[in-house]
């Protein structure tokens, strides 16, 4: 039902997506979460998958997002959403499973679950909201807080000599063969919102096509804990976060493989192997094969 794709036919140019429940979110005014959450709902509408979609929202500002969607939803422990999603996907492979995680959740306490879900090529979709701060707990330093960034727990600015450097999640996960798609987007202006929407939809499509692990990182704002107006927060994001977190597709193995095949490449970069394509080999068989 949503908006942009049907804009040419319908008198309705834009409206609230169906997959969003008719409730007021408890995000602060101007919080990027609301935009991103809407884009996820729009993608669910466009692909008509609401009835078989289950979302996982772990601890963080999005912890109550189980009330905001019309699809089935589960809460997860802090950082464990990819593990919970794994259990769901393995129990019902035909369902579409997404997680919606913040930076502390995904890149700090849940880094092991994130990396291993990716390297397994777990056929799930991860939406990673990177606003460089812990929002729910009131603005502490996150694994993605940039050098020099002042937070409640880095009051003199993030000192990389003691607190280390921020983690670029998409780049890190791109090194893993199980990652099908790792793309970083932002929602700082209408044009980028449209790009983000396309990326989110593509990530769902990859799951439907059983491509493996997809992650869309959305560089976002936290006006309240940054101490800025929603509008000024986007300007701060543009000037400070985007130089550190370059936007774009960091890894798209299916597309790389398709492009290589088109050019007649004999040895294209391999897409993640689908589970049902794996030939089972014992060490003995492998030796015989060789």
């Amino acid at each position: 039902m949503s908006s942009v794709s049907e804009s040419l036919k319908s008198p309705v140019l834009f409206e609230r997506p169906q997959a969003l429940a008719d409730v007021l979110t408890n995000y602060c005014p101007g919080c990027s979460h609301g935009i991103i959450q809407r884009l996820v709902a729009e993608a669910i509408d466009d692909l008509e998958i609401e009835g078989r979609t289950v979302g996982v929202c772990p601890v963080g500002c999005s912890v109550t997002a189980y009330d905001f969607y019309n699809c089935d939803m589960a809460q997860a422990a802090h950082g464990r959403a990819p593990a919970v999603a794994t259990g769901m996907k393995r129990a019902h492979p035909e369902n579409i499973i997404f997680t919606y995680q913040g930076d502390g959740d995904l890149a700090s306490i849940g880094m092991a679950e994130t990396v291993h879900a990716a390297t397994r090529g777990e056929n799930i979709t991860v939406f990673f909201v990177n606003n460089a701060i812990y929002g729910m707990t009131g603005g502490q330093m996150a694994p993605t807080s940039i050098p020099g960034q002042v937070t409640q727990t880095s009051p003199y600015g993030r000192d990389v000599t003691t607190a280390g450097y921020p983690i670029r999640v998409c780049e890190l996960l791109s090194t893993l063969d199980g990652t099908a798609l790792a793309q970083r987007v932002t929602v700082d202006c209408p044009k980028n919102v449209r790009i983000a929407k396309k990326a989110i939809k593509k990530a769902f499509e990859y799951q439907i096509e059983r491509r493996g692990f997809s992650i869309i990182e959305i560089v976002a704002t936290c006006p309240t804990n940054w101490g800025l107006s929603p509008d000024a927060a986007f300007k701060w994001l543009d000037e400070n976060l985007l130089p550190y977190y370059p936007l774009g597709v960091h890894c798209d193995r299916p597309a790389e493989a398709a492009a290589a095949a088109e050019q007649g490449d004999k040895d294209p970069a391999k897409p993640p192997v689908l589970v049902d394509q794996v030939a089972v080999r014992t060490p003995q068989q492998a030796r015989t094969d060789a």
Binding site: R80, A83, K89, A91
Partner: protein, 371 residues
């Protein structure tokens, strides 16, 4: 009737789980439970819809269990003491979300890395303090390889019935030993209970559902805990299980569970040969603790003796039931040392002679007792 096969406890348990309709296993290697995972890795890929997944950690494994359980599947994980400690947060979330699942703890000694020998040091963790907050799980204690198999189906059944996690609390002795076992029949998948609450996707057929343990409104949280405790009360009333062995005329009753009860059974037999009137009450459900069986015994017996492979944990539950009406003595080894039947017979003799003993393996400054 199926034929008897010779199997390790861990493997009998794993096979029984498959036969009870458990198609998903998420685990992480740890001694002395590893055979459970190894067996599942071989068995489940051959089962339609079967999934064996070696998780990146115990923490991830229990959260995979959470996801699969939330989706309505019969699912299990297994570990040993330090690994179960890592799973505790996840178990707490299962409790708070009213999700069933089987958690197997093949106990080893602790604290910390402890040892890999048989131990019963996790009794309090399993029955009192699994995760945080007001909550319980069902805890079943097998004492033979046959029970390692038989209690699995019961754990799944009770878990599904009361929407609670269930634990099989065994130890390295039971997990590693081989005994003849008659494996349970394969459960007809049509016999699995419906789970209308499961997150299967609404498929356009119903309103959306959530699985959640978060209640930001304090009154709502209290209400949810009270509803859960109303269920616990039912479990306490109707699901207690214990074996009473030679208790009818027993002047002294020994209370012991799991592997410790095997030593005690031998000791009771030896003591009976000496003409001592002694019996055994063996709790099979540790939570709910079999208070009814012990309560009924108080009229018949003069004293109780608890025997454990720990510094004294279950003995507290015995004392709570007895409530001062009879003396409760205690005998133990810990750290992986399995007491001999002869040691237990010595303790039984002293209790029958009217002593109240508290024998742990060190010289107590308070009582002077020592092993």
């Amino acid at each position: 009737m199926a034929e008897k096969v010779l199997m390790k406890g861990n493997e009998a348990l794993a096979e029984a789980a498959v036969r009870a309709g458990c198609k998903l296993f998420f685990g992480y290697p740890i001694t002395p439970q590893t055979e459970v995972a190894a067996y599942m890795s071989k068995r489940l890929p051959k089962v339609e819809g079967g999934v064996y997944l070696q998780a990146e950690s115990e923490v991830a494994a229990i959260n995979m269990v959470y996801g699969a359980s939330a989706s309505g599947a019969r699912v299990m994980t297994s570990s040993s003491s330090p690994g179960v400690s890592l799973k505790q947060e996840g178990i707490s979330y299962l409790i708070g979300s009213d999700l069933p699942a089987l958690i197997v703890n093949i106990q080893r000694g602790g604290p910390g890395l402890g040892g890999i020998q048989p131990s019963q040091a996790d009794y309090w963790q399993a029955t009192r303090a699994v995760g945080h907050g007001d909550g319980h799980i069902i805890v079943l204690a097998p004492s033979t390889v046959q029970e390692m198999a038989d209690l699995v189906a019961l754990a799944f059944e009770l878990g599904d019935k009361y929407r609670m996690p269930a634990m099989i609390l065994a130890d390295g002795l039971l997990g590693q030993m081989m005994e003849p076992v008659v494996l349970p029949d394969v459960l007809d998948s049509a016999a699995l209970p419906d789970k209308p609450w499961a997150l299967t996707g609404h498929q356009g057929q119903r309103r959306h559902q959530t699985i959640n343990s978060l209640h930001l409104d304090a009154q709502e949280l209290e209400n949810s805990i009270i509803r859960r405790f109303e269920r616990y009360e039912t479990v306490r009333l109707v699901e207690q299980r214990a074996e009473c062995y030679l208790t009818d005329d027993a002047d002294v009753v020994v209370v012991a569970y799991g592997a410790a009860s095997r030593v005690v059974r031998s000791a009771v037999n030896h003591a009976r040969d000496e003409g001592l009137k002694v019996g055994l009450i063996r709790p099979i459900t540790l939570w709910p603790f079999p208070t009814q069986a012990i309560d009924l015994q108080i009229e018949k017996s003069q004293a109780f003796l608890a025997v454990e492979f720990s510094m004294g944990q279950m003995v507290d539950d015995v004392r709570l039931v007895v409530n001062g009406r009879r003396p409760v003595s205690f005998f133990a080894h810990t750290g992986g040392i399995v007491p001999t039947p002869e040691e237990v017979v010595v303790a039984i003799r002293r209790v029958i002679a009217g002593e109240q003993i508290d024998i742990v393996p060190f010289k107590s400054k308070l009582t002077g007792d020592r092993a």
